[in-house]
């Protein structure tokens, strides 16, 4: 995903002189390195100084630039929170904060490097938009949107590198603010966002063997949320599954269940989210998710028990 990010920024930034990149001591690899070499005045490394990264980006945006601030998610969003709230959101400036390695992606680095509650935090600030693409293909659309169309601060929640592509020819087209059907199905609706979509596909394969048909949707834009699109799913499905690499507080779980209550949804909704607990596990990402009840097997069993 991060390679795709760098490619699009480099390509767009070559034509659009208002695109600039600020990093806080993240080594510029691939196209990011090319951007730095070719446009040194539009590439700033603030060092390990995230408050400065956001403040300077805001200043450049006040002069008409469209900065991308890029570092590991927890440092991109949590450390400079007040700069994001005041400098970016209160003033409504078109700065994209790219949070890399979100959720449990940095599994073995310990709790200091995990972002379990980033969507919840970012969602609560007025003017903030949130996009969380599910694979490199969706990443491409999301970055293009941030480069060319976004008019307000955006938190772009991404994975790391090497993610598989799930978008296929039959998937709906990407559109900002719209739930996107990736594969169609008729019995169960899975709502998810980010690279954890991988699990949804694994579950779909298993359920297929039981003749249960599953639709998978990427809720890539978490704010503003596509409530109309959600209503359509409420009408079509009696069983909705939420899978998210994020706390059960303030993320997709809350969005969907609040809307369900407000729309008198009579069906069943089961969420698989991270618990409201810090994680003290240093295995791979699946080990961490499993600790919080998110594994293909556990989800599969729970669905069978509830259908």
């Amino acid at each position: 995903m991060r390679n795709k990010l760098a490619d699009i920024i480099y390509k767009t930034g070559s034509k659009d002189k208002k695109i600039c990149v600020l990093v806080a001591d993240i080594s510029p690899a691939g196209s990011m390195s090319k951007f730095r070499e070719k446009y040194p005045d539009r590439f700033i490394n603030t060092g390990v100084a995230e408050q400065s990264m956001i403040g300077i980006a805001a200043g450049m945006a006040l002069r008409g630039f469209r900065p991308f601030c890029y570092t590991i998610a927890t440092f991109a969003l949590y450390r400079p929170f007040e700069m994001i709230r005041v400098d970016l959101c209160y003033q409504n400036l078109p700065v994209t904060i790219v949070g890399m390695g979100t959720g449990t992606v940095y599994s073995s680095l310990g709790g200091t490097h995990l972002t379990q509650e980033d969507v919840s935090i970012a969602r609560s600030i007025p003017n903030m938009k949130i996009i969380a693409p599910c694979d490199p293909k969706e990443m491409e659309d999301a970055v293009k949107y941030c480069c060319n169309k976004s008019k307000s601060p955006t938190y772009l929640r991404i994975g790391k590198a090497g993610e598989k592509t799930f978008i296929n020819k039959l998937s709906e087209k990407w559109s900002f603010g719209k739930i996107r059907k990736i594969v169609t199905g008729k019995d169960i609706c899975i709502l998810t966002f980010g690279p954890i979509i991988k699990k949804a596909f694994e579950i779909r394969d298993q359920l297929k063997k039981k003749k249960i048909s599953v639709e998978i949707n990427s809720c890539h834009t978490l704010k503003p949320f596509d409530l109309e699109g959600l209503k359509k799913r409420f009408k079509k499905f009696k069983f909705i599954i939420i899978i998210e690499d994020h706390s059960e507080i303030g993320g997709l779980n809350n969005i969907v269940k609040t809307a369900a209550y407000e729309n008198f949804y009579k069906g069943k909704i089961i969420n698989f989210s991270l618990k409201d607990e810090f994680i003290h596990c240093y295995g791979d990402q699946d080990d961490l998710l499993n600790k919080h009840g998110i594994s293909t097997n556990k989800i599969f069993k729970k669905i069978l028990a509830n259908i």
Binding site: Q51, G55, G59, L62, Y90
Partner: protein
């Protein structure tokens, strides 16, 4: 482009007028931060009338950013006198249908950014100044920070970046009144000092002046020796101009009562040029 011709006497007269206007407004509201505005006043006046260049259409070329948001009354009265703020803005200060609160909001004429939370202005200023360098625009950025903002780590982070980016176009004034909500800084936070050495060690040129003396402000900018970003520590008196307000932490926030207001006005009227 025109260079301002700054008259010291006119500057002094203006500052008395501004102080009276601030005191007038203070009678309608409890929240005004008059003392912090009084300490910064001469420096802000010098920036607007002596340092910021204007184009032939009489519009400012250079930018002023008030990072010391709670001192904004010093900027508001100047924007009003320059006709940038309509009079109704200050007449409706801190009222439900008004445009102005006690911290500046981005989007109003002459206000470059929303400030009030301390330690934000330096980052914003570095971004603005760097953007102007990238676009090869000859614009100077005058930044006003409070001394309290030099207790914020974020200020120092961005000061480091200003020096890394060699921002000659960034000139920062520090309203060093040495007094904050908790008390006198020298007593409450002794290791805040020495100040100048810290600033210099962060790659800035630094001058120390009497912040109430406009001539010293002008000279500090004129006599800069390097192309480094310039920081001018203006030693000031919080509440300057009204004896009972001077250096008393209680006046950080409150407005004078009607009796105190009359005394203050009398004192200001007695000031000779």
């Amino acid at each position: 482009m025109t260079d301002n011709k700054f008259s010291i006497i006119d500057g002094k007269k203006r500052c008395i007028k501004y102080r009276k206007r601030i005191l007038d407004i203070s009678q309608k509201v409890s929240a005004i931060h008059a003392a912090g505005a009084f300490s910064a006043l001469e420096m802000v006046d010098t920036i607007y009338h002596g340092l910021m260049r204007k184009n032939l259409k009489n519009k400012f070329i250079d930018t002023f950013l008030m990072s010391k948001g709670h001192g904004c009354m010093s900027q508001y009265v100047i924007l009003e006198s320059l006709g940038i703020f309509p009079k109704k803005y200050l007449d409706t200060y801190c009222t439900k249908n008004g445009k102005l609160g006690s911290h500046p909001d981005y989007g109003l004429p002459g206000i470059e950014a929303s400030t009030g939370s301390l330690g934000h202005g330096m980052g914003l200023a570095v971004g603005i100044a760097h953007a102007d360098v990238v676009e090869k625009k000859d614009i100077k950025l005058f930044l006003m920070i409070s001394d309290g903002e030099l207790q914020e780590g974020s200020t120092w982070e961005s000061m480091m970046m200003a020096a890394n980016l060699e921002l000659t176009n960034l000139i920062c004034f520090v309203d060093h009144n040495g007094s904050q909500s908790f008390g006198i800084t020298k007593e409450t936070h002794p290791k805040f000092y020495p100040l100048k050495e810290k600033i210099v060690s962060f790659g800035w040129e630094c001058a120390e002046i009497n912040g109430h003396n406009s001539e010293e402000s002008l000279d500090a900018v004129k006599n800069r020796k390097t192309k480094k970003p310039l920081m001018i520590i203006g030693n000031t008196i919080k509440g300057k101009g009204v004896s009972f307000m001077e250096n008393k932490p209680i006046w950080h926030y409150r407005s004078p009562n009607p009796k105190e207001y009359k005394v203050a006005l009398k004192e200001l009227e007695k000031i000779k040029n």
